[in-house]
């Protein structure tokens, strides 16, 4: 099939709504994945920056 009628989005991407608001919760500071998260957060790195290091 082809894209629906009236599909006129630039760069083929349409935004409809933002995400629902989040809930703040406390992560358990345990395990290798949390430590990676803490490292990213403390150095304000994104995932891809972190992957490169």
């Amino acid at each position: 099939p082809s894209l629906p009628e009236g599909w006129s989005a630039e760069s083929n991407f349409v935004v409809h709504a933002p995400l629902s608001s989040s809930v703040n919760r406390k992560l358990e500071p345990v395990g290798p994945h949390f430590l990676a998260h803490a490292r990213r957060k403390r150095h304000s790195r994104t995932f891809s920056e972190d992957d490169r290091i």
Partner: protein
Amino acid sequence: MSAPTSPPPESTEVDSKTVIGIAFGNTTSSIAYTTPDGKAEVIANEEGDRQIPSVLSYVGSEEYHGTQAKSHLVRNANNTVAYFRDFLGKSFADIDPTNSHNSAHPADIDGTPSFNLQQSDDETTTAVSVSEVARRHLVRLKDSASDFLGSKVTGCVITVPTDFSEAQREALIAAAKAAELEVLQIIHEPVAACLAYDARNNEVPTDKTILVVDLGGTRCDAAVVSSRGGMYTIIATAHDYELGGLQLDNVLVDHFAKEFLKKHKIDPRETPRSLARMKLEAEGTKRTLSLGTSATISIESLAGGYDFHSTVNRLRYELLSKKVFDQIVKLAENVVAKADLDLLDIDEVILSGGTSHTPKIASRLAQIFPESTPINAPATSATALNPSELSARGAAIQASLVAEFDHEDIEQSTHPAVTVAPHLAKSIGVCIDGAEQAFQTLLEAQTAVPARRTAQFIAPNGGDVVVRICEGVREIVVTKPEKKPSNVDRVIAEAGIKDVKKGAKIEVTVNVADDLSLNLAARVVGGQQTVRGSVE
């Protein structure tokens, strides 16, 4: 008394720290370390025990610890301290001394719970505060680990229940410090159990909601933990301070006491010493019943000079303990309800703590969950780890992870600025027109952001494809008890990919930042075309 030993070589600079994990319980404690290849192993003390009773006993100037001290509960109850972990960091007014009735009683010394113990060869008693008792206990644990590892243990990670207050944590750190043991971190018991399981298979952890039921000797704790990409968040906890293995021991004590009473017209529960002996032996019988279908008990000269021998089979024991099992099931149901979840939302159950060896408890819990939900206990899963070792193993793994960190590093990483993260309220997934499954979840609800997930989908028809990013909500259809993959709640964004061959794979990566902006990349695997977009 021993030959003068050369002072320990202090010059050898500590190039690598020796760290262990300690599970410090009211009833038993255990110690574990990680092998160089990253596997956690529980250490046995000199007596060969892996579950070391948290008991200290004094005879003259001798100090006894562990199983030896526990046997002193019969002859030397007043100089034996047991069940003291939960007294740490509390004022005398706040403690519940119920479990101390059969051992040294806590006394009020300036508000701190203390024990009056005879520690020398004369009759004088001295007051020993609960933190000093904890220090001595930790010293013994540390020494056992040091002897086993052949090097002095310097640091440790200790597990505590989730309801441990700040004051209790500080008291524990202080007691460890007095024992020359640096506490690298204090972690929660249910999370340690999850970590022990996740560390077992070194693959990328899946997103799942885990119910951890920790069944101890004097208390039972339950927690719902959401595990997302290997990060854990505790959603709800429940505690019962009057439920545990001791109650099961009492069931057996009552059963056997009635039998003895019928035969000899003497109630062995009426004299403290014979009651203590019965309790000690009943515990052994209970353990045997977890492994075999019948067990014996035999106590020489129990009361009135009569010996006591008897047998009990597992069926009879399970019948007598039904009330306790019911309470455990209820605790599990309560905590799931507290988390605003249904039993169907639980993907996995982990049974932890010594009482989890009881086969009936595992099978009772298995009954309330769908058959597909794994119940990790020895009776219901062949691959289950020893439930008594989970906390210590988890602590040992965490200890090895943070061993090289500076104190400041750990402090910063565990700071609320890092640990408090926004969690998604609804799951985020992808709908592809014509695909078999309407909605495929990429990020589950309760995932901490920032988070990133990638998944591949097959283009069902070929031609142009619309990748629809949606938020979903879980729905339970009552007609058939089955957890449905989330239903579409609303569409967030759409990405169109043109001219896709039928059956081609489409890879979708979703990246949610902590300000809840979403980045999407969709591409055909092996093709040139990529659609990117972001939702602010």
